[in-house]
């Protein structure tokens, strides 16, 4: 008997195990999406379901395994029911058949056969997996979508509702100023961008509404302006010339919808000079032409654009200037003017040694006060050949040849020499030598000039300095031909910048000076060795140092605007102070950083008190004056409007905006607050009494 039971248990257990193994990958597939999504609850639910399913599978196997075996395995001869119960078979045939079955059964229920059976009867529905995946996908995408839809729908609902109300009753007409050449348009009330000085006209479209509340209808702007509707043709309209970005609301609109009107300010024309790139352009000595390219743009139209050129010729006191104005030609696009021209020098009237200064001026077409933009002044310099010095002798006024060239000129000379050598490699070596030596002499003279400030020997090479000393000039540009005033002073007065005085420079200045001198030495050395290329670097170094010196000087040369009182000559140097009186004056008033009305307004806002009279005007003026950022100003104006509308909780926000307008907070020197009651507490009295009883108070420190 137990044999039968044992066999039955073994077979069902085997079937159940194989069924479980069969469904294991299925479970993995089922849970995979949820594991990826990290959803805990579906996995938990799924696990419970899986356990239930496996329990149900077992139940099914127990219930149906006999019929399934009979149907699947013909070799069992449809007699599996004989194994169904432990009760002994009634007939001998049955017993015989059962014994045969028991022999066969191990063989029949092989692993493969079991798998076949499971696949046939306990097949896991694939649709469940598909459902699980679909659900997971839905889970992932749906919440975001629904939220978005929800938000959209809600927002749009509110907007459309308000818009509908306003749209049906009001239209906004914008007439941009004529010069912008933009056409007027009419729109429903909505946020829009309009040019500066546009005429904005709000008109009620439903006459009945206009008639109903003619008086109460107005447009309120955030800057405090109120625009009343007036009868105009057949409509009621309110008008405003747009000057700043505001938001507006309509008094007849119950929701008091705030609609922003962004005003685009008219921009001044922009000028860009692309060539020459340097502010001071030194042309090549043999240059025949020069290129000037410029580009002017404006947001609407350029009405006028011209190039102003000034030609400077000569040197010293004999400089002649000639002015010329050239219109910049128009292009097809009125917003843009481009001029790229190759000027021949004769066209410009330039000769060697001349300088041409030019700038560009452009005017736009703004209505009342057109914007005028002027570019910086550029300089074109055509260097003069060396012969220029002789040429200048021919000038009517006798001008001494300037012998002290500035460091900048020395650099230019060196560069010129290098360029010439490069352009013409077969240049006469003698010429190169003389030119190089001339530059070296210039450099030496300049070095000696600066060396004086350090108390150096004034002459190193003979009386070189003596020769040129008369012509020394400290003019950096070297154009000056005046007799240097220094010489006069040396001759008739006492020399100020001599050895002793030289030591008056502070250490920092001396350091820079020394650096300049060392660089000049190096440059001179290279030039005398006829190696102008290697001289260029120290020359530039020296120039940089000299520039630094000049700028350092500038700090100390601030002009003090002080007019001394007239001196009574008769009292001077008598030592008599009897007439001098003690002066007494009232203490200065502290500068007011925060105006009083603003301070009071802030305090009132924070205390939820009643606000001072005309507070909204105070606040609006303050905001307009102090908050420059457009967005912040709009927000502050909105806060003012909120408080006007009676929102008590908006008061702190307005206070914050007003406080934000305060440019800076000041530190106030003050003492520490110490509690010192008018009358001592009972405790203090008792304490002092006990102290007095015990001992006299200790002496504190040394006493006088």
């Amino acid at each position: 008997m137990s044999d039968v039971a044992e066999v039955r248990r073994r077979v069902t257990a085997k079937l159940w195990r194989i069924a479980s193994l069969h469904s294991l990958p299925v479970y993995v597939a089922l849970f995979a999406p949820w594991i990826i999504l990290r959803q805990f609850w579906p996995i938990l639910l799924g696990s419970v379901a899986a356990v239930l399913y496996s329990w149900w599978t077992k139940k099914r196997i127990d219930a149906h395994w006999i019929s399934w075996s009979n149907a699947s395995f013909p070799e069992l001869e449809d007699s599996m029911h004989l194994l169904a119960s432990d009760v002994a078979a009634s007939s001998a045939v049955a017993q015989l058949q059962r014994a045969r079955l028991l022999q066969k059964i191990e063989h029949t229920f092989s692993d493969a056969a079991c798998r076949h059976l499971v696949r046939q009867y306990l097949y896991f529905p694939r649709s469940v997996i598909v459902t699980s995946w679909l659900l997971a996908v839905a889970w992932f995408f749906l919440p975001a979508q629904t939220a978005a839809v929800k938000n959209n729908s809600m927002a749009s609902e509110i907007k459309t509702k308000q818009a509908l109300q306003l749209n049906s009753a009001l239209s906004v007409q914008v007439i941009p100023p004529a010069y912008t050449k933009q056409s007027a348009f009419t729109s429903t009330p909505k946020e829009m961008q309009i040019p500066e000085n546009s005429q904005v006209r709000w008109c009620t479209t439903t006459p009945s509404a206009a008639e109903r509340s003619k008086e109460s209808q107005s447009i309120n702007l955030s800057n405090g302006q109120t625009l009343n509707f007036t009868q105009r043709d057949e409509a009621h309209c309110a008008e405003w010339q747009a000057s700043e970005t505001v938001f507006w609301s309509w008094s007849a609109d119950a929701a008091k919808t705030r609609i922003v009107l962004k005003v685009q300010l008219d921009q001044a024309p922009q000028i860009k000079i692309t060539t020459p790139t340097e502010m001071v352009q030194v042309l090549a000595q043999d240059a025949k032409q020069v290129r000037i390219a410029l580009r002017i743009t404006d947001d609407y139209q350029i009405t006028q654009a011209s190039m102003h050129m000034t030609l400077a010729r000569g040197s010293g006191e004999n400089i002649r200037f000639s002015d010329k104005e050239m219109p910049v030609p128009q292009s097809k696009d009125s917003k843009l003017r481009e001029w790229d021209k190759l000027w021949s020098l004769s066209e410009l009237g330039m000769e060697p040694g001349d300088e041409l200064y030019f700038f560009v001026r452009a005017t736009d077409n703004a209505d009342k006060n057109p914007h005028i933009t002027r570019s910086p002044t550029y300089t074109l310099r055509l260097p003069s050949p060396e012969a220029a010095a002789e040429e200048s002798l021919a000038l009517p006024v006798q001008v001494k040849v300037e012998s002290l060239r500035s460091q900048r000129q020395i650099i230019i000379d060196t560069e010129q020499l290098l360029a010439d050598i490069k352009a013409n490699p077969k240049l006469n070596p003698n010429l190169i030598r003389t030119r190089s030596e001339t530059i070296a002499a210039d450099q030496g003279a300049l070095r000696r000039r600066y060396g004086k400030f350090l108390g150096e020997e004034s002459s190193l090479f003979g009386d070189d300095d003596g020769d040129h000393g008369d012509h020394d000039s400290h003019d950096g540009h070297g154009k000056s031909g005046d007799k240097a005033p220094v010489d006069l002073a040396a001759q008739y007065g006492h020399a100020h910048d001599q050895e002793e005085n030289a030591t008056l420079f502070d250490e920092a200045t001396k350091k820079i000076l020394r650096r300049a001198l060392v660089a000049m030495w190096d440059a001179e050395k290279s030039l005398r060795a006829i190696a102008p290329a290697s001289a260029l670097a120290p020359e530039n170094k020296a120039l940089e140092a000299i520039k630094q010196l000049q700028q350092a000087d500038r700090i100390y040369l601030h002009k003090a605007a002080f007019t001394p009182p007239a001196i009574k000559e008769e009292k001077r140097l008598t030592g008599d102070v009897l007439d001098l009186k003690n002066t007494s004056k009232k203490q200065n008033e502290a500068a007011v950083i925060v105006p009083e009305d603003i301070r009071n307004l802030l305090i009132a806002l924070q205390r939820q008190d009643s606000l001072p009279a005309l507070w909204s005007k105070t606040a609006r003026d303050w905001v307009a004056a102090q908050i420059s950022n457009e967005e912040q100003r709009l927000a502050a104006q909105a806060a003012i409007q909120d408080v006007i509308d009676g929102c008590a909780t908006c008061r702190p926000a307005l206070a914050a905006w007003i406080r934000q307008g305060i440019s800076h907070a000041e530190l106030i020197l003050q003492g520490r607050s110490v509690l010192k009651p008018k009358q001592n507490s009972a405790f203090d009295k008792a304490w002092e009494a006990s102290l007095q009883n015990k001992q006299p108070p200790p002496a504190n420190g040394k006493q006088p």
Partner: protein, 561 residues
């Protein structure tokens, strides 16, 4: 059983049940065999074990109240009732607020403070003044118990614009802001965690109430023997601070330039108002003026300082070292170097020709971070010798640093303005619906009136505050609570304090509850030690001994049988 658990836990119940079954079975067994004495021994032994399982204290009649502080609907009335009946209490969670502890009877409380390992709870401690004098810098500090990576502390105004920000990886961050106007406001502070760099998580955001009160102006007397840019700069600073000046600069032997407030100028013709002039809290003199003073004037000045004023000597034009030694016991000697001294990040000042020598001056002291300043007390007053000059250079380039530097010197000099009274709530964070105790100093007993409710509370002496008068009430409105003290229906003083919402700063509340609980436990421990009464009978050893004796006797009887 080192850790006591007062409610019967499952294991206790299980053990007791098992004990009951086994003992019952044995007793029954012995009884049937007619061995009554053994049955008695068994039952006694079982009783001993039962006592050990249960804890002797419970059996001795000790009742234990359980406080679950995390319960949001904690009934204080029920808790007070439970605790009044119990001898000790067991506390769970972060504890109760100070106000609540005050309402409960003082019995020993068992509490294991939540440790840092419980990383889920955020604990923040904030430190800021709620009342500040205008012109002083507001400082807000926040301290977190656990910090992982960088975090930020922001101070925001009411319109959510950021005023100041501090960031770092330390546990404590602090930021400064200078309020421009004397007003009452509720700022916001925000703690941000940018652990993941991209998305920032707001750890907590809450209100920062701040009342800025107008600064009290100083009375300053200044005497100089020579004009200088430094004194002029100081004059400008004090004028801008609305100090009342009595300023005299000697221009020559007989010529003096003086500068006073308007009232003193009226006093030229009217001597009466001269008497009204208040004694200055601060006297500033340059060294030369002090050196040239007559002995009588000097004595007068020192008497004035001894009354409690502060004297600042600008040492730039000192020339007579003997006077300083004689008058103050301060040894000054010519400066060894003229190297500039950095007094703060932005300013470095040149030293004066004479500098104080600390080693030979016993009464004087000098801190290492301020080697340019020597200080001593003079009875109730203070004397400061300033050994640097040329601060006028920073009037334009670093005006704020200069003001702060001078404020620092004034604070060192203990320049004080007296206030007559002070009223403040005891709790750092008074909350809606929780008892707030307000204590005042400088008043005679009178009424404290809360506005606008107009509810009267009498200020009276408190047992735990020697020099204060206190009252308590339960606020019914969050926000600034204005108050007024009234005596004979006349207002004597007024002010406001801030009442927080219950949901404000939960993690700061937690920190405060922990602190209050620790304080409470510490105070009860003191009380506990003072009366160690009923503890003896709760010892365990008699029961263990008894159990062993009974078991031995049983074993002996079994052996004999």
């Amino acid at each position: 059983m080192s850790e006591l658990d007062f409610s019967l836990s499952h294991w206790q119940l299980g053990l007791l049940f098992a004990l009951f079954v086994i003992a019952g079975f044995s007793v029954f067994h012995y009884w049937r065999k007619g061995r009554g004495l053994d049955a008695l021994l068994i039952s006694c032994a079982a009783a001993c074990i039962a006592v050990l399982i249960l804890d002797p204290r419970m059996l001795a009649g000790d009742k234990v109240a359980v406080i679950d502080s995390d319960d949001s609907h904690l009934s204080m009335a029920q808790l007070a009732l439970d605790m009044s009946k119990a001898q000790s209490a067991q506390l769970k969670g972060d504890g109760l607020s100070e106000a609540r502890w005050q309402d409960l009877p003082r019995i020993p409380v068992q509490w294991t403070a939540p440790t840092e390992k419980q990383k889920t709870t955020e604990i923040v401690r904030l430190d800021f003044p709620t009342h500040l004098s205008q012109g002083r810098v507001f400082n807000l500090a926040a301290e977190r118990e656990q910090v992982q990576g960088e975090w930020r502390l922001q101070l925001l105004v009411e319109n959510q614009t950021v005023l100041a920000e501090a960031r770092g990886k330390e546990k404590r961050l602090s930021l400064n802001w200078l309020p421009p106007v004397a007003e009452r406001m509720v700022l916001q502070a925000r703690l941000l965690d940018n652990k993941e760099k991209i998305t920032e998580k707001i750890i907590e955001q809450g209100p920062i109430p701040l009342e800025v009160t107008p600064a009290q102006s100083l009375n300053v007397q200044a005497r100089f023997a020579a004009p200088s840019f430094d004194t002029q700069t100081l004059n400008d600073l004090l004028t801008q601070s609305q100090a009342k000046l009595d300023w005299q600069t000697r221009l020559g032997k007989t010529v003096t330039r003086s500068e006073t407030t308007g009232e003193a100028e009226d006093a030229k013709g009217n001597r009466a108002s001269e008497n009204h002039k208040q004694t200055p809290e601060l006297v500033i003199q340059d060294a030369a003026y002090f050196e040239q003073m007559s002995a009588v004037a000097r004595t007068q000045l020192l008497q004035q300082i001894a009354q409690g004023s502060a004297l600042i000597i600008l040492g730039a034009n000192a020339s007579d070292s003997n006077i300083w030694q004689r008058e103050f016991g301060l040894r000054v000697s010519p400066a060894s170097s003229d190297k500039e001294l950095a007094v703060n990040a932005l300013m470095s000042l040149s030293p004066t020709s004479f500098v104080p020598q600390m080693k030979q001056s016993q009464d004087w002291n000098q801190s290492t971070e301020r080697p340019w300043l020597a200080q001593r007390s003079w009875k109730k007053g203070q004397i400061i010798w300033l050994a640097v000059a040329d601060w006028h250079r920073y009037k334009i380039s670093a005006p704020d640093a200069l003001s702060l530097w001078w404020q620092d010197i004034l604070d060192l000099a203990q320049v004080e303005k007296n206030i007559e009274w002070r009223v403040q709530p005891e709790q750092a964070m008074p909350q809606l619906g929780q008892r707030v105790r307000v204590c005042s100093q400088g008043f005679v007993p009178q009424n404290l009136v809360l506005l606008p409710q107009n509810s009267h509370h009498h200020l009276q002496a408190a047992a735990d505050k020697a020099d204060a008068l206190c009252t308590a009430f339960i606020p019914d409105k969050a926000g600034w609570q204005e108050w007024q003290t009234q005596s004979d229906n006349k207002a004597t003083a007024s002010g406001a304090f801030y009442v927080y919402q219950n949901q404000d700063w939960p993690s700061w509340q937690k920190a405060q509850r922990r602190d209050a609980t620790a304080t409470f436990i510490a105070s009860t421990a003191l009380q506990d030690k003072s009366k160690p009464a009923s503890q003896q009978i709760t010892e365990k050893w008699p029961w263990v001994l008894g159990l062993m004796a009974l078991m031995l006797m049983l074993w002996w009887r079994e052996q004999r049988a």
